[in-house]
């Protein structure tokens, strides 16, 4: 019943196999790093805003 109802890759055992890694290209890395820097900077802004509001 289980094997006929579930697709092969829905079984818990099938999920133990890793999906192959993708090689990130230049523009993709630029976008990911750009957004990472954006997020870190904006978090610093939030901390500054909370700090000023608290004082």
């Amino acid at each position: 019943m289980v094997l006929s109802s579930l697709e092969h890759d829905q079984l818990v055992r099938a999920k133990k196999h890793f999906i192959p890694r993708r090689i990130l290209k230049g523009p993709e890395l630029v976008v990911l790093w750009g957004l990472r820097i954006y997020l870190l900077f904006m978090m610093a802004v939030v901390v500054y805003q909370v700090w000023t509001a608290a004082h």
Binding site: S5, D9, M42, V45, V46, A53
Partner: protein, 463 residues
């Protein structure tokens, strides 16, 4: 021997050497899939309705779950500060954005049968995977704290002491989990989530001016002034509809429910249905507090109980009680879905069992993370003198800021032909999701400017 204590079974497939290990989780999921197959095999309206009933869940839960404590407070503050106008259609638009984003997670989950965190780790490696997990963990924990703040404040309206309010929330969270069945958990949580619609009768009790509502929808007028306060409300209302935990939750729940590519159409219906219900509750909350704007009442530092108290002279004790209960429900449902999203993500990246179909013995780490997140957040709101109001203020803003990086991962995964095959996003979906990323980033940049250089807003005519 109970089902929960049964060891994994092994099955040999006829004609093949491979031995397939079948776990308790597989058996439970297969039972759910058999019911779906039976409903799909039949024709007629009732079979279609039954199929819909069996397949809805993750979409409605994620949308009503996101109508959480801080979100409902944002909508209440919007109504009290700006009344009926620009923000009514704006909030509807943000739910349109949420549909665009969440539909991608349905396709990803159904096509790959993998959770969002797992896919990011496998496809992009642990370096980017950990970044994404840290964003999720911080955002989820901050949001969970605000859920308990909403529960505490909502029950405080009825005189319930804070420790009792936290305990009640934890008991409800545990009660939803105790069956160790995804299906039962989903139905219990859905039943609780539907209570979010309590804001609709509350809005009706305030006798809204329907001509003004219709005019606002058509003309987006009256426009609010362009200043720092407006920008904060814009960000809070966006953060009230699209946040990173929603991506992780809906994809993992889609996988745990066992949806396949055949079910994507129903996954979309589920998502649109959830967004429609959530938008109705959100707009109702704005309408419910709009009389405070008409009475020029300052609601700058209002929490759930204060909004309910301020509304009491207008809608009576019963209406105010419904409003407070709505806040409690928003906090409870979100605390269930957000802690579940954290537990799914933890299991996916550590490759430990992660499913609501797991018996306690096999899913110790999954249930421990889920419970510990909720207990820790609940305990924090009981610390006397903690400036909880700041956490509520910033949590939606943090969600908006963390969204663009999360969306870019989603965008790359859903356009990855190797894992998605023919289910990659069509051009129109990429244009729409690209627009959402641009809008969120622009809103974040404007927020940054308003904090660092507030004089620029003054020069543009704001305050």
């Amino acid at each position: 021997m109970s089902v929960g204590s049964q060891p994994p079974q092994t099955t040999r497939i006829a004609g093949e050497d491979e031995v397939v290990v079948i776990t308790h989780e597989d058996v439970d999921r297969a039972h759910d899939r058999v019911r779906v197959s039976e409903a799909r095999a039949k024709r007629g309206f009732f079979s279609g309705a039954r199929l819909l009933w069996l397949l809805v869940g993750p979409g409605v839960l994620v949308m009503l779950g996101e109508n959480d404590g801080p979100s409902m407070l944002s909508y209440a503050a919007t109504g009290a500060k700006f009344g009926i106008g620009f923000f009514i259609p704006f909030v509807a638009l943000t739910f349109g954005m949420a549909i665009v984003v969440q539909e991608m997670t349905v396709r990803l989950g159904a096509a790959t049968h993998r959770g969002h965190a797992e896919l990011i780790f496998d496809r992009f490696g642990p370096f980017w995977g950990w970044f994404s997990m840290i964003d999720l963990a911080i955002g989820n924990f901050l949001t969970l704290i605000t859920e308990f703040i909403a529960i505490r404040a909502g029950l405080g309206f009825f005189g319930v002491p804070p420790w009792m309010a936290v305990l009640i929330a934890l008991v409800i969270l545990y009660a939803a989990l105790v069956s160790h069945r995804y299906w039962t958990w989903e139905r219990i949580t859905l039943a609780a989530a539907v209570f979010n619609l309590v804001f609709i009768p509350v809005a009706l009790m305030t006798h809204p001016n329907w001509n003004a509502v219709g005019h606002a929808f058509i003309s987006w007028q009256p426009l609010p002034g362009f200043n720092k306060d407006t920008l904060l409300i814009v960000l809070a209302d966006i953060g009230a509809t699209v946040t990173p935990w929603m991506l992780f939750f809906q994809q993992s729940a889609t996988v745990d429910k066992g949806l396949t590519t055949k079910d994507i159409r129903f996954g979309r219906i589920d998502t649109v249905l959830g967004a429609t219900l959530a938008a109705a509750a959100a707009i109702a909350t704005i309408l419910a507090t709009a009389p405070l704007f008409a009475h020029q009442m300052s609601a700058d530092n209002f929490q759930a109980a204060e909004f309910a108290q301020a509304l009491q002279p207008i809608i009576g004790r019963f209406g105010a009680s419904l409003f407070a209960l709505g806040m409690v429900e928003a906090g409870i449902v979100a605390s269930i879905t957000i802690s579940t999203s954290s537990a799914y993500a933890f299991g996916e990246v550590t490759h430990k069992p992660h499913s609501l179909n797991l018996p306690m013995r096999q899913g110790k780490s999954f249930y421990s993370v889920l419970t510990l997140c909720a207990v820790a957040a609940g305990a924090i709101v009981l610390i006397p003198g903690l400036p909880l109001v700041y956490v509520v203020l910033i949590v939606n803003v943090v969600a908006v800021l963390a969204m663009p990086p999360a969306l870019v991962f989603l965008f790359m995964l859903v356009n990855d032909k190797e894992i998605m095959g023919d289910l990659v996003s069509p051009v129109w979906a990429n244009v729409l999701s690209g627009g959402v990323v641009f809008l969120l980033t622009a809103a974040g940049v404007l927020f940054g400017i308003s904090v660092i250089a507030p004089n620029i807003f003054a020069a543009l005519g704001g305050k």
